[in-house]
Amino acid sequence: MLYCKIRYFACASLVLLCACGEIDTYPDTYSQRCSDTAAIDGFQADFGGYKKGKRIPYKHSDGYLFALTVTDRENYIDGACEKHLVTTLESAYPIYSVTVSGKTGTFYYDGAQKNRQPLEIEFGQYVFTVVDPLILKEVLHVANVNGKDTLLYGPDSNYIEKMEVNGVTYKDVAVSHGEKYKSFNNKYSTVKSDAKLYYQTKKGILKIELEDGSHIAINEEDD
């Protein structure tokens, strides 16, 4: 009798193991296929023309002249087949660090969409979402500002036809209204802030206005 019970449990265990083993029997067509290359094209890659070692002159509103240097630029594909391009710019003093992060999927890729992917830019505790200025130009909408119907380009970002920064005029500019990390332990929680980032696809970051009234701005006039 005992021998029969042992055999019964042994068979039941085998059936269970076989059932669990079916997880591995999905056909190949369901598996995720990553791109052969981690490279990203379009707005995210073109932004600022940033290449490792490039130095860009800036001026602080309190008079400091300094350069942001591209210290790192990394392309990689993560486990979910998403492509990343992360660029870091740093200055020795003032002690600044800017992280420009681009992310895109592997499969959607086509000519129209490659310029529609936004970038995320972190500067200190501020974070900005940055969209191609020419895309912003296309998405005009009407909003009531001070009782008048006004054409705007988006709730958090606006297209600017041209702006002057330290004596140089830049065309097809945009401004992104930033957010700020709410708790430094929980970096994913953000609140609205008065910080603004002005940018252009060709030159990248033109100007960052901070909540304390200071700003940094590209300084190509003396370059």
Binding site: D62, G124, Q125, E211
Partner: protein
């Protein structure tokens, strides 16, 4: 055999029970853990250089509890990339101190023999009984220096952690010192920037107004001249004097209208000036 097995199992359990042993730490580590009453758990501090730059930082600290003390300290600047952390962890092996010296640091700096001065890969920790920063003397200060490391992964050269006060000084990679300052320095800088911006805006407005006035004067003058010229007649005729006066009056009225319309910023109103 059974008599031998039971003591062996007990000996094994005792040997594996290290996790329950009380933590051991050096006197140096103890000095970093005894200051929990001095800190407000989350507080704002300010660092400034000797020129104009000043930044706000938020520091967070946790000292564990009486039975299981440790130190977890981190401080983040709002606009600059000053991001310093200090973790003091006692354990039965003597404990360790971990240092963070930049945002997104991907490599740990760990001092496994926390007796000061301590050195690892050229990074140094040194304990100072006091340190004068500007006009304030801070007691019990831990100095972290990266100057002798072969590959400095920090974005700073050194920082100074006051065990009663938190971060009191940072030295940039090119040697600029940022020192602890009272909140008033930051508030004064905000006020100064606001007044500088108001002055710049006011100046820009004056320039814009004067340009607009000059343009309006010029347009009005040109139109007045053209009206007078169009009505120009022989000045010997007595009737013509009246006509000329009428023309001048009209020109003056039109010029005033244009000036007002331009000053109001309404280009469409100029059309209503009966030119």
């Amino acid at each position: 055999m059974k008599k031998l097995l039971l003591p062996a199992v007990l000996a094994f359990l005792v040997a594996c029970g290290d996790d329950n042993d009380p933590p051991e730490y050096t006197e140096d580590m103890q000095s970093l853990l005894d200051t929990s009453k001095d800190f407000s758990m989350d507080s704002v501090i300010y660092l400034a250089d000797t020129v104009k730059f000043v930044d706000m930082l938020v520091q967070e600290v946790d000292f564990g509890d009486r039975d299981n003390p440790w130190l977890s300290y981190s401080v983040n600047a709002v606009s600059s990339a000053i991001n310093v952390g200090l973790w003091v962890t006692p354990n039965s092996d003597g404990g360790f101190i971990k240092v963070k010296c930049r945002p997104d640091q991907d490599k740990d700096i760990v001092f496994n023999e926390p007796k000061f001065p301590a050195t690892v890969d050229g990074y140094k920790l040194k304990f100072k009984s006091s340190l004068k920063v500007r006009d304030t003397k801070y007691h019990d200060v831990l100095e972290f220096k990266a100057t002798d490391s072969l590959e400095n992964i920090c974005n700073i050269r050194a920082f100074y952690y006051g065990v009663h006060d938190g971060l009191v000084k940072v030295v940039s990679r090119n040697g600029v010192e940022l020192s602890r300052v009272p909140a008033k320095v930051y508030e004064d800088a905000e006020d100064r920037r606001a007044s500088e911006r108001a002055r710049a805006d006011s100046l820009a407005q004056v320039v814009a107004d004067s340009i607009a006035q000059a343009v309006a004067d010029s347009v009005a003058k040109a139109i007045a001249d053209s009206i007078v010229k169009a009505n120009e007649i022989d000045s010997t005729d007595s009737d013509s004097d009246e006509l000329l006066q009428d023309a001048l009056d009209i020109a003056e009225t039109v010029a005033d209208c244009i000036k007002k319309a331009y000053s109001a910023g309404s280009l469409t109103a100029i059309k209503d000036c009966k030119i």
